[in-house]
Symmetry: C2
Subunit: 375 residues, 2 copies
Amino acid sequence: MSHADIRSPQPLDLSGDVADLTRALMDIESVSGGEGPLADAVWEALSGLDGLELARNGDTILARTSLGRAERVMLAGHLDTVPLPTTPGARGTVPAAVEDGVIYGRGATDMKGGVAVQLAVAGMIGRGELNPNRDVTFVFYDHEEVSADLSGFGRLVESHGELLGADFGILLEPTNGVVEGGCNGTIRLEARTTGTAAHSARAWMGENAIHRGARVLTRLAEHEPQTVRVEGLDYRESLNAVRIAGGTAGNVIPDSMTIEINYRFAPSKSPAEAEEYVRGVLGDAIGEGCELVVTDAAAGARPGLTHPAAASFVEAVGGEPLPKYGWTDVARLSALGIPAVNFGPGDALLAHTDDEHVAEDAVRRCLEAMTAWLS
Amino acid sequence: MSHADIRSPQPLDLSGDVADLTRALMDIESVSGGEGPLADAVWEALSGLDGLELARNGDTILARTSLGRAERVMLAGHLDTVPLPTTPGARGTVPAAVEDGVIYGRGATDMKGGVAVQLAVAGMIGRGELNPNRDVTFVFYDHEEVSADLSGFGRLVESHGELLGADFGILLEPTNGVVEGGCNGTIRLEARTTGTAAHSARAWMGENAIHRGARVLTRLAEHEPQTVRVEGLDYRESLNAVRIAGGTAGNVIPDSMTIEINYRFAPSKSPAEAEEYVRGVLGDAIGEGCELVVTDAAAGARPGLTHPAAASFVEAVGGEPLPKYGWTDVARLSALGIPAVNFGPGDALLAHTDDEHVAEDAVRRCLEAMTAWLS
């Protein structure tokens, strides 16, 4: 790719086939931290449309209609992708390739198909082809695939919070075209055991910190994860030791061990309630010589399917809504008081893989559902 | 220290105070791998004596009398030390220093006091001051404080095995002047669990390898270590997890974990019996998804105190013999069919510390006991 190509990618055509638009978005590499060229292209495309108020913060772009409708919906998606595959011959890379109606390349499912749907809707509104029954706020943001504190959506809340109000939100993360409501929360904790070091030939002079953690592991292993019904959806929880490390040498009684625990909890619980739940499971395995410390926590998001806008969306899209297990940015919308669902083309299990791909028809169907609902 | 000093240390005086000889040995740095100058000095000192057959392999030296006695004893000790302390002001360093009748410096207890006793006995025999009632084989060897396969004693067995026969052996490792019989064996095993990786938000799609190891830790934590009486000595055993590691990332169900286990077992057990014992303790915690693998094993050494030479040694030295818990090179003698005990000046708990020291009188008393027994 020449220098000129990098600085001036082909302008995005919002009026053609949304599958072609998906491929055009995928041809512009946008690994987290390098979203600039793609954000520029999106900005340029939106700037050519009528009736959209635009704002930008770094590589995060906001566009909104002001039609005076009774309701406002937000359509949100991130511009960045995880890094390109390093495996030779992997197809989940840049540029994209189409084979038998399937688009292969980085971002195919996560989530340039969804972004293409957002842009296509914006284009139809801007060109007067769609007269939406609700006002629409579009958000395209950077740094989703990295540390949460870098999130462009988070920055936008700080800088343009007053423009972000909405009655309902749709995050176009891949859900295979099914509505996935809300998301589970996630909390990370460390069970840290301490003991007294000693030579292992005179073990009785020490206290074994690894042995001390046995009960923590036993409680986790014996725990039966719950399924919690929230607003009609069944959120399956999980509670796991995800990492463990302890000991210093093969002839030394270990004086410390750390068990890293991850609890994915239903959106009916707050992070504080989630911590309480884990403490309840571990019981007296936590105590002298073993402390439990929260290192990170993020609330989930209730599905909000009881809201009239959500109900009409589910009806328009069809199918049975499912719960979302992984944490997504719907939790950020939820924190703003906006009930939100995940709905987008592509299989979430293909995200981040060497074989990332999405069917052209899946993107087209997602756009059709969206425009049908907004008409 | 000048270059000339390094190449030509003061010749060792075997005829003076054995405490002074200890200090002279300590003034010649001999961290494992750098035993050359000390081995040269020992070789030079022994070469000047009558009636000793000498042999050398690298920095390991053998010297033996051939007086035609009915019994032969071996006095063995290593020339190397662990590295010098890095803490500023630490006294367990080079050169040595004497304060109030205590010698401070690297090797004070482990084990230049013992080596000084060996050399002093050789000197007395060589100069005709001691007419020993038993033939004596002296072994001074390198690389004891490092990986067992580097051991100079091991090399000597290969190259001069025919010169190593003896009825009884004394290893002059520090025992505070008490006879410590034999030593425990040591076996290292790894319990390796396997599972299936999955995203921690969809944990039910995986199998948690850390949870799978809970029962191994529980069995180890609940195990009551045995004390085993062998030839009148009580060998205290220990069985411990010494290191643990598992998991790859905070949001991934771990697909493997390794628990490193160290079992210190009484000298009445073979390594194979030790492995069997550990398998018995772990029971059905080992099985599908969790294998147990032996990574290293070294037999212990029976105390051999029932042997007449040993009995007379214990009587001459006085006091109640104790078992040796840590693995020492008496196990190498035991493997050669030579019953052996540990007996030397200094406190083993000071070995390798920043404050390593030995009382001058402790070295002198050890020499007195040795010569009394040999007279």
